[in-house]
């Protein structure tokens, strides 16, 4: 019986049957054939892997994986490649049209967000499902400071970022009493409450209509309004984020975070004040989300609660997980992939969330450490 239920035929039939009521016989039939082929292939491949693991093909694969595993580390350190990449990044606006630069700017903002979330989830091992709340607070505080009080970008930036960091503290103080998945749910609730408040406090935030007419930033009296300028502007902040986060991660604080992630009880027993360090981690991450929010508001010149849904939190989380928890190059790669991919695959955009969902499941099963994640990254509660 169990041999039959594990057969590709049965698996495909079962899943096609589940699909049947939703789209009718024809679609279910097509799905059955596709699944049958896919599962059979997977089976054959798996048998092949199991039967002769010393096969030269497998060895080549293994070596390739090994090289692949080491490459990014070596590459990113080699100066030549760094120069090449930075040259490319700098030259891109000259070759791209506005549409592509627009996406690149968005990717830059997401990189900052993902780097921020990586501090909490990747370094400290605390799952934050409401990260978008900080992003929203950052964006809205710049929008409000600018439109209500007339403050410029540079005056609002520190104020907004301070406000966000403070809100990170406020959420963290009570939330950190909770264990792993409870913490995840509380942060999710926080994110939803922030969005609901933005959506319903009509007199202050203009509700679902959002706030428009936000001023773009000025540098030396020059307004940054063209996309190309904004691209370089965002890159400066991305570099700043990478530099600072790398330094902090390598410091005593960063090492304490990683110790907490690996074993909270052990780290508290060697004298790490786990509550305090978790608090720093939350606030530091919120800081970057706030910065990203300010940049987002300045770029779009418009904010509305629609940009700050739970799906956004999940998307940022996906970037961190896809790239590799705790790995800065990985997270940058993850953010770039997840911003660029849907734009490149415009025709299949409908299926993008479907792929994102199943991709998350498969990633957790087959490569929980992400594309560039190192060994030893583990979640504990």
């Amino acid at each position: 019986m169990s041999r039959f239920t594990a057969s590709p035929f049965f698996i495909a039939l079962w899943l096609a049957l589940l699909f049947l009521p939703f789209k009718g016989f024809k679609a279910a039939g097509i799905l059955f054939i596709a699944l049958f082929a896919a599962v059979s292939l997977l089976k054959v491949f798996k048998n092949y892997l199991n039967r002769d693991s010393d096969h030269y093909f497998i060895n080549i694969l293994r070596i390739a994986v090994k090289i692949y595993g080491r490459c990014p580390y070596l590459k990113l350190r080699s100066i030549a490649l760094t120069l090449l990449i930075s040259g490319l990044v700098m030259a891109l606006p000259f070759y791209w049209d506005d549409y592509k630069i627009d996406i690149a700017v968005l990717a830059g903002i997401y990189i900052i967000l993902a780097l921020g979330l990586n501090i909490v989830v990747g370094f400290t091992g605390l799952l934050n499902l409401g990260f978008v709340a900080f992003y929203a607070i950052g964006a809205y505080s710049y929008a409000l400071l600018n439109t209500k009080l007339g403050l410029g970008f540079w005056a609002s930036l520190p104020l907004s970022v301070m406000l966000v960091t403070l809100s990170g503290f406020i959420l963290a103080i009570p939330a950190l009493r909770l264990r792993g998945d409870y913490l995840a749910i509380v942060t999710l609730g926080f994110g939803e409450i922030v969005r609901l408040v933005l959506n319903n406090w009509d007199s202050f935030t203009k509700g679902p209509n959002g706030i428009g007419g936000i001023e773009p930033p000025h540098i030396f009296g020059m307004q940054i309004s063209s996309l190309g300028h904004f691209y370089y502007f965002v890159i400066i902040f991305v570099l700043l984020a990478v530099f600072i986060i790398r330094r902090v991660a390598a410091s005593r604080i960063g090492r304490a975070w990683i110790a907490i992630r690996e074993d909270e009880i052990a780290s508290s027993s060697i004298g790490i004040n786990t509550t305090a360090y978790k608090l720093y981690s939350f606030a530091f991450a919120a800081f970057w989300a706030g910065l990203a929010g300010v940049l987002f508001a300045a770029k779009m010149q418009f904010v509305s609660p629609e940009s700050f849904t739970f799906m956004e939190s999940v998307l940022i989380l996906c970037m961190v997980i896809l790239g590799g928890l705790g790995s800065i190059p990985g997270v940058i790669l993850g953010a770039i992939i997840l911003v660029m991919l849907p734009e490149m695959l415009r025709e299949v955009q409908l299926y993008r969330m479907l792929a994102l969902g199943s991709g998350l499941v498969m990633l957790m099963i087959f490569r929980p450490q992400g594309l560039l994640g190192g060994k030893g990254v583990s979640f504990r509660s």
């Binding site: 009521p21 749910i185 408040v197 319903n200 299926y351 969330m353 479907l354 957790m364 504990r380």
Partner: protein, 300 residues
């Protein structure tokens, strides 16, 4: 006004309680917040509409409405249970020994997948459940109670009673309680853990399907995104009652329904969806073990 809100709250609470039971049962056994559970409830509502439309198309509804309704009910529950079973096998079973947050992320993936799966196959617009029962009801101390409301309250009560009997009296129920207490010991005394876990998912999903169906009948409108909010609220209910505790989920669900209905009526209805989150956060800070839960010591 007061009795009206009471009835509304009980109706809502019954639905929350049924979904919360699925959360609490899975959490009790796997210590996993089954994020995809809300989507099973949404699938239940959709399947109800699909099957009823199918029976109407083949003329069964015109021939005998009760028969069509019973068949719709049974088929939706069977399908949802099958979905729950399959999700566990595909997305959670391979991660049983993984770090604790891995299955949680996998569950979020399943939830996103199912939402978009339904959106792509059934369209993003609201689906309408045929208005079969009109708005008929009875007058009761100056309050109108519709038959749908009576049915929801009664059906949730009966299902909860049966579930309680199942958990306390049957062999499988006993096995479930044993696995929830200690997986290794349970397997040592000959309990097949995989069967128990599958059974938990099947029962939990069946209950969520019933909740989804009843909501489809009650509101008459279904959307692919209803699972997320309902799931979070039901989770709140489970935490309120003490997650892992079955009577806790029942009480928590009904309490949450009442709180939501009364605060929407007497405080502000704009923040209707925020109350659940606020309550959730308050409980987690004040008494994370909930009303009926036991406090757990953290083990090294």
């Amino acid at each position: 006004m007061f009795t009206q809100q009471l009835i509304n709250g009980l109706t809502l609470g019954g639905v929350y309680a049924l979904i919360a039971l699925g959360y609490t049962m899975v959490y009790g056994i796997l210590e996993l917040i089954n994020f995809a559970h809300g989507e099973i409830y949404m699938l239940g509502a959709y399947l109800g509409i699909i099957f009823l439309a199918f029976f109407t198309a083949i003329g069964l509804t015109a021939y005998s409405l009760p028969l069509a309704l019973v068949l719709t009910f049974v088929l939706s529950v069977i399908f949802c249970s099958a979905y729950g079973f399959t999700i566990e096998k595909i997305a959670y079973k391979p991660l049983r020994n993984a770090p604790r947050l891995s299955p949680l992320i996998s569950a979020i993936g399943v939830s996103i997948f199912l939402q978009n799966y339904v959106m792509l196959t059934q369209g993003a617009t609201d689906k309408i459940f045929p208005n079969l029962f009109e708005k008929a009801g009875i007058e009761f101390i100056g309050t109108r109670v519709t038959y749908t409301q009576i049915f929801i309250i009664a059906a949730s009560a009966v299902l909860m009673l049966f579930l309680n009997l199942f958990i306390t009296k049957t062999r499988m129920g006993k096995a479930m309680r044993a696995v929830a207490q200690d997986k290794v010991m349970a397997s040592l005394v000959g309990i097949n853990i995989n069967t128990v876990i599958s059974a938990t998912f099947v029962i939990g999903s069946g209950l969520a399907a019933v909740a989804g169906l009843m909501v489809a009948v009650y509101y008459g409108l279904v959307n692919y995104s209803i699972g997320y909010t309902a799931g979070i609220k039901a989770f709140t209910a489970a935490v309120l009652g003490g997650i892992g505790s079955i009577p806790g989920a029942m009480v928590g669900g009904i309490l949450l329904g009442l709180i939501e209905s009364f605060s929407a009526a007497y405080i502000s209805s704009e923040y209707k969806d925020a109350y659940a989150f606020i309550i959730l956060i308050i409980i987690l800070f004040v008494k994370p073990s909930g009303l009926f839960g036991k406090t757990q010591e953290e083990k090294v």
